[in-house]
């Protein structure tokens, strides 16, 4: 069969009249298929098929490109895979590799300006390439449930989540409001939302990320579809919540539903997938059973991807291949105990917090204690990791340490001298000693500025402003950019045009500009793709080695924290619940909460 164009909703792709007639015949074929909720189209009815009878999904030779302003940009090339009933296929790969585009094509929502070509795209043996918009509407939600990427923003923020779940029902013929409401609550219960009837009336912003993700799943499985596509269902979730969501999907799969699971994280999909597809730059570079791919990766990229997942096993190792992105070649793998650059053997404390507390007023008389009696010390050249679920007070602690907000109790000392008790004017000359890198570097840059200006702005001020001084400063910026492994031309570019990893490097370069002793990293790698994250983590390690920096490393990702930290604080509800060396905390957790956290740590195993 020759390749044809699958009409994309939202834009009529009337390139040739043939499509129209094609559509007509498809519609009649699907007339039966979408006849009602009870009848499902078996593969044997798929007249247009010619496919394996048992297949839920068959994709062959799928290519997608996007056309904008006359420019055609191919993003997916020749992707093929099959998925049987009750099976799970995982698509992994770095950001932008085409995972989501592939998934969206399965429900005909590839996007504006998409040109889709395929030898076959079949759902239950029915060729969907000629589907009309109406055909698609009857398919989506009813036969295919879709859990979108960005779970946290994928629910209408203005509507109660119950209504969102109900919408799936309403769109597919559930007329009775009361029945719909009852069913929605039932579904929420089914996906493990506690007090579902109360939660159903709440809006997404009143729910935690995990609950939102579950509500989203509930709306996707509301009509008991045969196929569920879950795009990055666990990103941005705490490990514990991530574990619950995966378990939920596992149950779904047990019920015989086929699953397409998408992630950039091999360790996450390892639990569920029967088979894995590794994508890179729009192509499938490797595919096979989960066991094959995890234990015996063939492609170098798959290997790198596996190596890039930080955690217990990666401590003291580099995460990224040495040649990536022009990063400086790494020193030899180091031992688990790091050398203290001081050389004296004595531990020099650069940062000390004692009994920090911070309360916020929530309007009226209610206050929230965001940080409660937090104490720690950070030694030169060492890394202190802080983990904890969302809202546990990590960022607040960071702001207190940085002197950006004043503690209600307790004190911070920097380099052995008082810090938090000073006035801002007194602190100002010493601000160079401590700097910060945030999760979202972009918003921390003035949007009008180039990389050079951003970094230069952070250089310590020194008297004269002559031309010589100017060139010196330029040189210093160039050195810094080089130190963080940014290619030469970066200086004059606007940060918006850089990739996520590059931006984070700029942020780090800026943080280093004042030659600080302490670097506070608040979720500094959380937004990055595993492979990019690996590069940045390696970079941080290099810098620590070279400059003897001390890191206060904040993350909700246990694997990352385990990878980088010498010591670890575990926070919960503003308090430190456990502390110790990384090994102590992760290998021999004392507190039940920590134990629960650690047990949820995804491990690479087939």
């Amino acid at each position: 069969m020759s390749t044809e164009i699958v009409p994309v909703p939202g834009q009529k792709n009337g390139r040739d009249a043939g499509v129209e007639t094609q559509e007509e015949s498809r519609r009649s074929a699907l007339g039966q298929a979408a006849g009602g909720t009870a009848t499902r189209v078996g593969s044997e009815r798929g007249e247009a098929g010619g496919s394996e009878a048992s297949g839920r999904v068959r994709v062959a030779g799928l290519s997608v490109s996007f056309e904008r302003d006359g420019v055609v940009r191919p993003v997916v090339h020749d992707v093929s895979f099959d998925l049987g009933r009750g099976e799970c296929v995982a698509i992994v790969g770095e950001s932008g590799s085409g995972k989501s585009v592939t998934a969206r094509t399965l429900v005909g929502l590839t996007g504006h300006g998409a040109v889709v070509e395929a030898d076959a795209v079949e759902l239950d043996g029915v060729d969907v390439r000629g589907f009309s918009e109406a055909d698609w509407r009857r398919t989506r939600g009813l036969r295919v449930g879709f859990v979108l990427q960005d779970a946290l923003v994928s629910l209408d923020p203005l509507r109660p989540v119950g209504k969102e779940v109900e919408e799936s029902l309403r769109l597919h013929g559930w007329r009775d409001r009361r029945a719909r409401r009852a069913k929605a609550v039932e579904l929420l219960e089914q996906v493990g939302v506690p007090a579902a009837d109360v939660r159903a009336r709440q809006r997404p912003d009143q729910l935690s990320g995990g609950l939102r993700q579950r509500a989203l799943i509930a709306s996707a499985i509301a009509l008991d579809p045969d196929l569920v596509i879950a795009d990055e269902p666990t990103t941005a979730l705490d490990v514990t919540v991530q574990e619950q969501v995966l378990a939920l999907l596992d149950q779904t799969k047990q019920r015989g539903v086929s699953l397409v699971l998408i992630s950039h994280d091999l360790s996450v999909v390892a639990r569920l997938a029967d088979r894995i597809l590794v994508m890179r730059a729009g192509r499938v570079v490797e595919s096979g059973t989960t066991h094959q791919v995890l234990t015996d990766p063939q492609h170098a990229y798959t290997k790198a991807l596996l190596a890039a997942v930080p955690g217990e096993h990666t401590r003291g190792q580099r995460l990224s291949p040495p040649d990536e992105d022009g990063a400086p070649t790494a020193p030899a793998p180091r031992g688990s105990v790091r050398p203290v650059p001081d050389g004296s053997g004595e531990v020099e404390v650069v940062l000390e917090a004692t009994g920090l507390a911070k309360r916020f007023s929530l309007g009226g008389s209610t206050t929230l204690t965001a940080v409660d009696d937090v104490s720690f010390t950070l030694a030169r050249g060492r890394t202190l990791g802080i983990v904890g679920e969302s809202g546990s007070g990590k960022s607040t602690t960071a702001r207190l340490v940085l002197g950006l907000s004043a503690p209600d109790a307790g004190e911070v000392e920097l380099l052995g001298r008082p810090w938090s008790v000073l006035s801002e004017a007194q602190r100002r000359p010493r601000r160079g000693d401590i700097s910060v890198v945030y999760q979202d570097p972009l918003s921390s840059f003035d949007p009008r500025w180039t990389v050079e200006r951003i970094v230069e702005d952070a250089l310590p001020r020194d008297g004269g402003t002559g031309r010589r001084n100017r060139t010196e400063r330029r040189q210093r910026v160039a050195d810094l950019l080089q130190a963080v492994g940014l290619p030469e031309g970066t200086a004059r570019r606007a940060p918006l045009r850089l990739s996520g990893g590059q931006r984070q490097r700029v942020a780090i370069a800026r943080a280093l500009a004042s030659e600080p002793s302490v670097l506070v990293l608040d979720e500094a790698v959380s937004a990055l793709d595993v492979s990019v994250q690996a590069q940045v983590l390696d970079l941080l390690d290099d810098l620590q080695q070279r400059f003897g920096l001390s890191y206060l490393f904040i993350s909700h990702d246990l694997g990352v924290v385990y990878h980088v930290s010498d010591e670890v604080l575990v926070m919960k509800d503003g308090r430190v619940v456990e502390r110790g060396t990384a090994e102590e905390v992760f290998e021999r957790p004392q507190q039940p909460y920590t134990r629960q956290l650690v047990s949820a740590l995804p491990r690479l195993s087939a």
Binding site: S444, D446, R448
Partner: protein
């Protein structure tokens, strides 16, 4: 379009076919076409030439009003967002009071005080539209003030003044370029409304609002006297708005 306006501003004589003030009592109310491109008014004055000569006062009012309005708005907006608490609070109220004060009344009072003229119009429209823009600027400054990059600058140890100068003001006032262009168009529309109410520029000035007002009495007999200046006002406002939108888009693109 813009070139024509440009020429009309710089050298109206080059475009005009007649003296915009010269009476030709024999050619009263000629329809468009023939010797008079856009027809004549009741006193036989050539409408095309009047429209061309009218561009200057019309734009002067538009630009003058926009400038007045934006200067006022920036001062008020920045003070309300950044001033010391007491000042900010007071300015905040001033903005609200001005905002709730019927702008037309303001114009009426100003005209009563200063007499009808282009300056009065520019001032009246400027003051009338300033509170709206002041609110936008206040919001911008407040948003920028709490932007992460401002906090980043604090963390870098920069002084308040430096942060204000380097980050807050430039970023908060950036949308101003687009607003300014929009406001020129809106001001012309506004000012022409004032002319309609007889608060405009002294006749026989061919300022567009005045033309419109004068044509009104003949609307059923000489449609061109109403339609032409009206279309011109709308077209210019449209052009200014489009320029504003493009400027804004260009600014955003230069960032991207």
């Amino acid at each position: 379009m813009l070139t024509v306006v440009g020429i009309a501003l710089v050298a109206p004589a080059a475009l005009a076919t007649h003296d915009p003030y010269a009476l030709d009592l024999g050619a009263s109310l000629q329809p468009p076409g023939g010797e008079h491109l856009l027809g004549t008014d009741v006193a036989g004055r050539d409408l095309w030439s009047r429209v061309v000569w009218g561009a200057r006062p019309a734009l002067a009012i538009g630009v003058g009003a926009a400038a007045t309005s934006l200067v006022l708005a920036v001062v008020l907006g920045v003070l309300a967002a950044l001033g010391p608490r007491l000042v900010a609070g007071a300015v905040d109220r001033v903005i609200e009071v001005l905002f709730s004060f019927p702008s037309l009344l303001l114009a009426l009072l100003l005209v009563a005080l200063l007499g009808p003229s282009a300056w009065t119009q520019a001032l009246a429209v400027g003051i009338g539209t300033a509170p709206g823009y002041a609110r936008i600027i206040r919001g911008q400054v407040r948003a920028v003030r709490s932007a992460p990059y401002v906090e980043a600058a604090v963390a870098l140890g920069h002084t308040r003044a430096r942060i204000l100068r380097q980050h807050v003001l430039p970023n908060a006032l950036r949308p101003l370029v687009a607003i300014a262009a929009l406001s020129v168009g809106q001001s012309i529309v506004w000012a022409s409304s004032l002319s309609f109410l007889g608060l405009g520029v002294a006749p026989p000035s061919p300022e567009w609002g005045a033309l419109l007002d004068a044509g009104r009495a003949y609307v059923t007999h000489a449609w061109w006297l109403t339609v032409v200046p009206g279309v011109v006002v709308v077209a210019l406002a449209l052009a200014a708005t489009t320029v504003g939108n493009h400027l804004q888009a260009a600014l955003e693109r230069s960032e991207a």
